[in-house]
Every structure is written in C-alpha cells, then in structure tokens.
Subunit: 277 residues, 2 copies
Amino acid sequence: MLAEIIAIGRELLTGKTLDTNSHWLAQQLTGMGIRVKRIVLVDDVVDEIAQEVLTSVKYGVKLIITTGGLGPTFDDKTLEAISKATGRRLQLNLQALKMVEESYRRFHQLGYVDSPEITPERKKMAIIPDGAIPIPNPVGAAPGVMLKIGPHIIVSLPGVPKEMKAIFENHVKPRIEELIKQEGKGRKVREKTVSSGLSDESVIASAVKKVMEKVPGVYIKSLPDTFGKEVDIPVRFTAEAETEEEAERLLNKAVNLFFSTLKGDLTNGREGINKDN
Amino acid sequence: MLAEIIAIGRELLTGKTLDTNSHWLAQQLTGMGIRVKRIVLVDDVVDEIAQEVLTSVKYGVKLIITTGGLGPTFDDKTLEAISKATGRRLQLNLQALKMVEESYRRFHQLGYVDSPEITPERKKMAIIPDGAIPIPNPVGAAPGVMLKIGPHIIVSLPGVPKEMKAIFENHVKPRIEELIKQEGKGRKVREKTVSSGLSDESVIASAVKKVMEKVPGVYIKSLPDTFGKEVDIPVRFTAEAETEEEAERLLNKAVNLFFSTLKGDLTNGREGINKDN
C-alpha cells in the first residue's frame, strides 16, 4: 500500500514550526508495512492543498493523510480544499456536530472555555465533505475526517501533535490495519491503464461516469500527463472483487464498455480510438 | 521571490531521519524576505525527483533548493534527476573535480581516508549538469551545485546538515542576496501568460525554441494544465531587461513572434490560433 502525507500550515514554510507530525506518521506507516511515497508541506491556500491531493490521486496513492487546517479559524482550509479536489460538497455532519458539542461541554466543565455554546466558528469544525466520516478527537475539539473516494482514502487529522497522535492511534490505525487485512484476504484488486486516444478530458469524463454507474466495483480515473504531448490521455481502471477472476472480469467489462461508450459519444467520428474495442 | 525546497532521501519517508534541513532553510529564506511556497520530501527515485523539479518550474518558483542525493553512492540520484528535468546533460566538470580532489587530499592528510585517489565513485561527485556551477563544500566532499535555467535557479546541497549549512551560509546566501539586490535595482522583470490555442505541446515547443533564440532576455515555458480540459495549453513569457519599458518591449516582441511562428509552423491551418496575433 502506498501513502502520502500532506502537512498544511504556513508556520511550516516559514520555519516557525518543525514538522514532527509527518516524521511520526512516516514511522507509524512504515511500521505497518505501508510505503510513504511523498511528504509535502503546503501553505493554507485552498488551491495549493487541493492540487497536492489531486497529485497524490494521480500517482495512484491509496492512503492520503493530511495534518493541520481543521480548526475554527479562517485560515483552516483543509476540508474546503479536499471538497474542491474531490467534488464532494461541504455540509454540516450531525455526528461531527455532536462530537464538537460534547468537546465544548467538557471543556466548559473543565473551565477551559467560558461557554459551551456552539458559535459559527465552532460549528465550522462539523462541516465536512459529503460522504466523509468524522473521527472522534479525544484531546481537542476538531474531529478527524475520513473520506473514501474510489480506491483512495483521505484521512484528515488536526495539526496539534497530541490530537493528531491520539486520533491516529485510537481510530485511524485500527481501521487501516483492518483494511490491509481485508485486502490481503478477501478483496482482490486488478488494475489496468489504457490509452484513451483522446485529448479532451471532458469527453472522457462523460464516458467514465456512465461506465462507473453500469459496472459497480470499478473505479476509473483519467490521468492527463503534465509533461509531454497532450494528445492521448491515459485512463486507469481499478476493479475490486472477492476473487481475482471476478476482478479481472469486471476490469475487462469496464474497459470494453468505456471504449464502446466513447464511440457512441463521439458522433463525429473522431480519430484515435482503439479500433479493437 | 518564491522558493521551494525538495528534500531527497528514503530515510526521510521511513521516519528514520527527521528533516531538520528544510526547517533550517525555511528559516533562512524567510529571514531573507523569500516566500517558501512548498517543501517536498521525496524518495531516491530519478523520475520522482525530476517530477517535483518540473512542478516547481510550472508553479513559477524562482529558487529551487534540493538537499540530499549528491554523494558517491548508487542511490544518490539528485543530479541525474535535475539533468532529466532540465534537459542539461551530465558531464565531468573540471572545477568540481578539482574541489573533490582537494577534499580527498585533505581527508587523507587528516587520516580520514586511506587514499586520496579519485575512484569512479568519488569522480561521480564532479559529474554535474551542463552549464551548472560547482560550489565549494568546506566540510565534506560533494560540491554543491548551482544551475540557472531561464528565470529559475536550482541549488543542490548535500543532505548532511553540517555540509548543507556551511555551503548555504558561505556561498549560496551571498549569491541569492546579490540576486535580490540586482532584481530590486537593475533588472526589471515583466511576465505574461497567453493561451496558445493548441493542445499539442510538441508544436508549441518548436515555436518556443525559435522565439527564445531570436529574442534574448525572454524565457518561455508552456504550462499544460493537469486538471481540466487539455485543449488549450497556456504559455508563460518572462522578459528581463534594465528598464521596465525594455522588458515590456521584449515581452510583446516575443509574444507576437510566438504566434506568427506558430502560424508558419502549422501548414495545415489548425484551428484555435489567436487571429489578432
């Protein structure tokens, strides 16, 4: 399994804070048999964070862990960026809201805060991408967030080391270990990258959507290449099933359907489509 | 001025080594008034290092500093990657060779090494990209390397903190400060990004080459966009001159020549070229 760590916060880029979080996470992941491909430190800028998430997806990274930028202040942009990168809209999550409410009730009882009231700033921490799962934060207020997008898992943790470690150890590590076990036993994954013969990603996108609806268990991602000729965008198919044979069958079904859908979509007989499919 | 730091070495991704180098460099650069946009930690893999250098170039980063991967062993891949990213061939640099020879003579006198002989492994440290300048290493054997590519400066430093700091403080910092002073006073920079109207970067590349030969002082870079429709590749023009007026004149000259060259190159009347140019 491949992982990348994205550490978010201007204080990391000005040298004010040493990024010990990524170092600790790299040790944890390596210990779990996961290969960390890249660690990236970025500014609190939505587009820059989103870009790094998309780069990780493009590299075929399974596990993307972000740290920082989950708090109540205006410069906490992580979930907005993940929403932008994945197309999942931000919305109030009631389970997350309950976690935030509980935290402030506790902080109030302990005398840490003047009021347990859920202000808009506090509520912000419960506004997470559609389909994401909030993860309890046993130390601070901002819940962690886990989002599955096709074969990718994006885990967002707070930047405060004590909170980050507590969430990872108590909730993230067990889930990832379970996932690795499932992958090793039950679920088999087959992957294939084909040349689309097309340079227009919007045409590909429509076919991708149709095929993913018709062939459940298959995830498809177009991969425009930044550095080279732009005329032939590769498309990666990832099929998951209980057996290798079934995964292979789903994979071939999806690839064939993709090319026949493309043919159907292209009424003007555009060149470059693989004639065999 | 924008900078990025690329820290190279598998030990950083396994959590074996904490990357204090980037933290120190970020402090230094911030103190010099330079904004660090991104810090990336990557594996000792030529393609992955080259990819990050190209991403920095694409982001318009002026100063790219790499640390690590300059030594004599097989997994020291930094200069090979920079060569790949920039198209500058690796070749033996006699000035660098002299630095390496001197270091080993000194190490031999001090009893650090058995022989001052320049083995192929030691010679490797003097093989640097064409046009690059070696920078003396007052502590270790591997010289630092500085390469100017258009408006970009790539500085490669060893990964050993003591060597990295010594080279930066004694040789890199003064040069960058001089550069900032020049930029502030003498040299003026004007920049413009235009839509090429083309999706084929190879067609653009040929026009870019011709224009850069005919208009000295102008650097041109095509910027294919990874995330979106791939049909219209933007092209960035950067002109440097003694006055703003002259930089502006060079910029316009280059843009106009670029479009007229494209027109001439496209004998088959491809669509999408800006008719005004």
